[in-house]
């Protein structure tokens, strides 16, 4: 069922709390008027419409939404995996020049992912033929100023399982290797797409704990997308997406430790 547009309040994620105003120094992403339409045969499917959003350095943002709400599309565009139909995404790294991702070509997007973005996926996407250490090394080999693979794995609590192959690791361990792989390059942003989607609650809390820890210790701007509402409590800021729009934005006064989350 489509929610009538009139009923959905247009919430602009940047102009709501005073210190999040547009142009505030420290915005890693400035998203303006973003829209994405997929042409599926004769039907146009609108996945994103008119999204405005700022993501700040060091913050942990949880993006909530049902499946099909557009949250993954947004994440893919922010991560340089996809390009929008309309709108702009300005990316400003901690060090370096600001750039408009919507004007970048495929090679520039590859470079962007390589240098600035860490990805964590629901299904880990590890390379079965490589050990934990080598999976991380795959990224540190091509990054500019990475941390050693071993350090990244110690950070996620896998210092003892460096030479295990994916098939020898549990789901939670595999996901932590994926997180280590994502953060080893010291990315400007860490993008997590349903990182606990394939895990049981306990393992999920463990993985979220690692993400929380990385965010605090490294100060990496982190976006976690999930359909699991209780996870929102660990965020600095929570955005809710419905039918391709940001329908609600809120700020947590305190971040709940992931170990205290229940679902």
């Amino acid at each position: 069922m489509r929610i009538p547009e009139a009923l959905v309040d247009r919430v602009t994620a940047w102009d709501e709390p005073a210190r999040d105003a547009r142009g505030t120094p420290g915005a890693v992403f400035e998203v303006r008027g973003l829209g994405k339409t997929y042409h599926m045969g004769d039907v146009d499917v609108v996945a994103l419409r008119d999204v405005d959003l700022d993501v700040h350095a060091g913050e942990l943002l949880v993006l909530l939404g049902a499946s099909g709400s557009g949250k993954s599309t947004l994440l893919n565009i922010l991560g340089g995996l996809d390009v929008p139909t309309v709108g702009t995404v300005r990316f400003t790294p901690v060090q370096g020049a600001s750039r408009d991702l919507t004007r970048a070509d495929a090679d520039a997007l590859t470079r962007f992912r390589r240098e600035h973005v860490g990805f964590v996926f629901q299904f880990y996407n590890l390379i079965p033929a490589l050990t934990a250490r080598e999976n991380v090394a795959l990224v540190t080999d091509i990054a500019r100023a990475p941390m050693p693979a071993e350090e990244a794995l110690r950070l996620v609590g896998l210092g003892e399982r460096l030479d295990h192959f994916p098939a020898q690791l549990s789901g939670g361990e595999q996901q932590r290797v994926a997180i280590a792989r994502a953060i080893a390059k010291r990315p400007d942003v860490l993008l997590c797409d349903e990182p606990t989607g394939a895990l049981d609650a306990e393992t999920g809390r463990l993985v979220l704990g690692v993400i929380d820890q990385v965010n605090r210790e490294l100060g990496t701007a982190t976006i976690v997308i999930t359909h699991n509402a209780p996870i929102a409590a660990m965020a600095d800021r929570v955005l809710r997406m419905t039918s391709g729009r940001i329908s609600e934005a809120s700020r947590n006064t305190t971040r709940v430790s992931p170990s205290e989350l229940t679902w």
């Binding site: 992912r113 240098e115 299904f123 098939a167």
Partner: protein, 790 residues
């Protein structure tokens, strides 16, 4: 309806996987095409020949003599088993053809007055037979006529028994005895311009050759099932008083023997090569379809979950394999018929049977299709069974991460610091060695086929090189009408443009050793001669020993003689008691069943005070035309062959063969290499799309990801190259052995240049496959791949 939906899926799958369907079907098509073309060509030619032999009444026993009174023919006809005797007169002539720059050799043969009588009947291509008693009419053999652009109504000069006369071409014809028109000159005359057959009316031939009321050549027809051996013995004893040169059965008749040699080579190409191709095709098909079905695991599970039975699921995927074979077979048969027509046409050019038409041999075609089909279904079956035996839910869950282990090299502690990407490639190979091997083996097979068959062509060119640049270095070989005193050769020296003359003597002999009897000739040549030399396969020159005989190694092996043995030799032209000649050396040469002696030793053996049969000349190239024209007017000369013309004719013939067969082999090798690499990479991509997409997401560029996938295929191709070259050498040896005959030896020639060329062709095919893959890789949908589960 259930079945209809599944059928629709089949069609869509075929379309979706069209790249793989086409590349795999092409391999099938190659195998089937070769079988259809080669088997068909061989059978068509054999049919054409057998049919022609029957209709033209090709003889069974052939004999020659100096001069036999005609009434003796009735005694020959009385030999038990003989149904027809056909006495003829024959001799050699020098032909002066307008527009031909040298004197051509001619074989004159008389025609029976009654067109319907006798053996070896003429098949007229155009014109008519010479009228009985007409002295100036001749029917000319078709190959010679065509090479010299002679037509009915043209006239040529002929020197017969020292007398120049003009004869008019009234017909152009072929006869079974001269399917291969060969001169009596030493070496293999491939120059069709330089030798022809002239059929004259009996009267005209008898008077021209001075054989009134006599014959010197006879053909006998035998009743079906009659053993020729006792007939030959009887013929020899009847003809002995008349200078009989020894009767031979059809097997030893020169034209037939050469034809048999050709058929033998065609049998090798026609049986062995298609079988090898078919085996390669079957192997690839097996592997490719097996892997293809394995990638459809999820679909198989889904079908099972919907309630399809194992049988229906298996049937569906086997139908996919069947469709690939069907497409390949239809294309293969169509291409095979086309190629067979082309080949048959090429042979028809040389063989000149009255009617050669390519006919599809349904049995062999069906055999090839069934073999391909069985290989394909077997490959698919293994994979289908594996997938169908899984519980649906288990199959739907997908395979859990594959269990990899550190590389053997790493476990052994040999290698520690490898780049991650290289580790990935090596572990994939070590993890699934059979899968990796299938690509390598496919490519290696393609290369082996290419280098192995092309080496035969290299061998042929090498043979020509040895023969014409090391052994036969004379510019012109001149043959005399009959053995002449040595002065005849010396006179040639006086002709303008002749720089060096070396005379030679050819003495027809029969060699007997146990049950093996061979008619051949001893070549007498000057020891230390510079023009015509004894040369072995490798091109090494051997000296002519002052006494005793040098025998061709293959011929010696056939006769079972060794150095130190002595040969029992009967002189065919002089008769008399057999003589013994010691074998002093064996010569591992390329052509012929030759025996060589020093000229004076041969003269002593014959005991006639020394004669020469002709001379080898080195000439001033500037004056070649004048000299050759001059030779036409020397009465003693029955023919001259120019080395240039021989080399050109040989090269033309070889290049024509190379053009067709070489192109064919290259195309097939490319198809196989392409099929192996493209399918290998394509399946590797579908197996590892997720992994590669993950790398792209992590920031690997397209180039880097492509390098990873294609690098693995490249490494497999690199491994395949040395294997392929070794296999090629093996194949060359095999084919060479099969080609070997008493008359012709093929050297096993491993040419680095040729191998490099063959490797380059295969690598180019692999690169093409990689380029096709690269396009697909670049279009990899990152997001979609990441969203699906393993």
């Amino acid at each position: 309806m259930v079945i209809a939906a599944l059928h629709r899926k089949l069609l869509r799958d075929l379309w979706r996987l069209r790249g793989q369907v086409v590349s795999t079907a092409a391999v099938v098509a190659c195998g089937v095409m070769l079988v259809v073309a080669m088997y068909g060509t061989r059978r068509s030619l054999q049919h054409a020949r057998d049919d022609y032999y029957t209709r033209a009444r090709f003889g069974h026993v052939f004999a020659g003599a100096t001069r036999v009174p005609l009434p003796v023919a009735t005694r020959l006809a009385a030999i038990p088993g003989v149904t027809v005797v056909d006495p003829r007169v024959t001799g050699f002539a020098s032909l002066d053809v307008p527009g031909l720059d040298l004197p051509a050799g001619g074989r004159v043969v008389s025609l029976p007055d009654d067109a319907g009588a006798g053996l070896d009947r003429l098949h007229l291509v155009s014109g008519r037979r010479a009228r009985p008693h007409a002295v100036d009419e001749a029917v000319v053999s078709a190959g010679f006529a065509r090479a010299n652009a002679l037509g009915v109504g043209d006239s040529i000069g002929a020197v017969l028994e020292g007398r120049w006369r003009r004869v008019q071409v009234v017909g152009i014809a072929i006869a079974p005895r001269f399917i291969w028109e060969l001169s009596a000159a030493p070496g293999y005359t491939a120059d069709e311009r330089a030798f022809g057959v002239l059929w004259l009316a009996r009267d005209a031939a008898e008077s021209a050759l001075g054989l009134r009321g006599a014959f010197n050549d006879i053909m006998l027809g035998l009743a079906p099932g009659v053993d020729p051996a006792p007939v030959i013995a009887a013929v020899d004893s009847i003809l002995a008083p008349y200078g009989g040169t020894g009767a031979v059965a059809r097997e030893r008749q020169p034209s037939h023997a050469i034809l048999e040699g050709e058929f033998r080579q065609l049998r090798v190409f026609g049986l062995m090569l298609p079988l090898i191709f078919l085996a390669v095709a079957a192997f690839l098909l097996n592997v490719v379809l097996g892997r293809l079905v394995a990638t459809q695991r999820i679909e198989i599970a889904a079908l099972k979950a919907f309630g399809y039975t194992d049988r229906e699921v298996a049937g569906h995927f086997l139908a996919f394999a069947g469709a690939v074979v069907l497409v390949g077979s239809i294309a293969g048969v169509a291409l095979g018929v086309w190629l067979g027509g082309l080949y048959t046409g090429l042979y028809a050019n040389v063989l000149r049977f009255p009617a050669i038409a390519f006919a599809l041999d349904p049995v062999s075609a069906l055999g090839a299709i069934v073999a391909s089909g069985a290989a394909a279904l077997a490959g698919a079956w293994v994979a289908v069974r594996g997938a169908a035996s899984l519980a649906p839910a288990e199959a739907l869950r997908g395979e859990s991460p594959e269990r990899y282990r550190p590389l053997l090299l790493e476990r052994l502690g040999v290698v520690r610091a490898l780049p991650s990407a290289l580790r990935m490639v090596l572990r994939h190979v070590e993890h699934r060695p059979a899968r990796a091997a299938s690509t390598s083996i496919g490519v290696a097979m393609a290369l082996a086929l290419l280098s192995g068959t092309l080496a035969l062509f290299a061998a042929a060119f090498h043979m020509a090189d040895v023969q014409f640049r090391v052994a036969q270095r004379e510019d012109v070989a001149v043959s005399f009408d009959r053995p002449r005193p040595p002065d005849a050769a010396r006179e040639l020296t006086r002709l303008p443009g002749v720089l060096v003359t070396e005379s030679f003597r050819i003495v027809p002999v029969r060699v007997r050793r146990g049950t093996v009897v061979r008619t051949t000739a001893i070549t007498g040549m000057p020891p230390g001669g510079a023009l015509h030399r004894l040369v072995d396969q490798e091109g090494r020159v051997h000296a002519v020993p002052p006494s005793g005989a040098v025998v061709g190694a293959a011929f010696a092996a056939r006769l079972g003689v060794h150095v130190g043995d002595s040969l029992r030799i009967e002189l065919l032209e002089r008769g008399g008691e057999p003589r013994a000649v010691p074998v002093v050396a064996l010569l591992d040469e390329l052509f012929g069943r030759n025996i060589y002696m020093a000229a004076d030793a041969l003269d002593r053996l014959v005991g006639d005070g020394g004669r020469v049969s002709g001379a080898w000349l080195r000439i001033d190239p500037q004056r070649e035309p004048t000299l050759l024209a001059g030779l036409k007017r020397v009465p003693a000369v029955t023919g001259a062959s120019s080395r240039h013309a021989l080399v050109a004719a040989w090269d033309r013939q070889m290049l024509e063969g190379l053009r067709v067969s070489g192109t064919l082999v290259v195309v097939c090798a490319v198809v196989i290499a392409l099929g192996a690499v493209y399918n290998g990479a394509r399946i590797a991509l579908s197996e590892r799309a997720r992994e590669l997409a993950s790398l792209r997401v992590l920031g690997f560029t397209r180039r880097e990801v492509a390098l990873l996938l294609l690098g693995e295929q490249g490494a497999l191709v690199a491994v395949a190259l040395p294997i392929g070259l070794v296999g090629g050498a093996g194949l060359t040896t095999l084919l060479t052995r099969a080609f070997q005959s008493e008359d012709q030896r093929f050297p096993v020639l491993i040419s680095p240049m040729l191998n490099a060329g063959a490797a380059l062709v295969v690598v180019a095919a692999a690169v093409l496959a990689a380029a096709l893959m690269r396009r697909r890789l670049d279009r990899l949908d990152l997001v979609a791949v990441l969203k699906t589960r393993e």
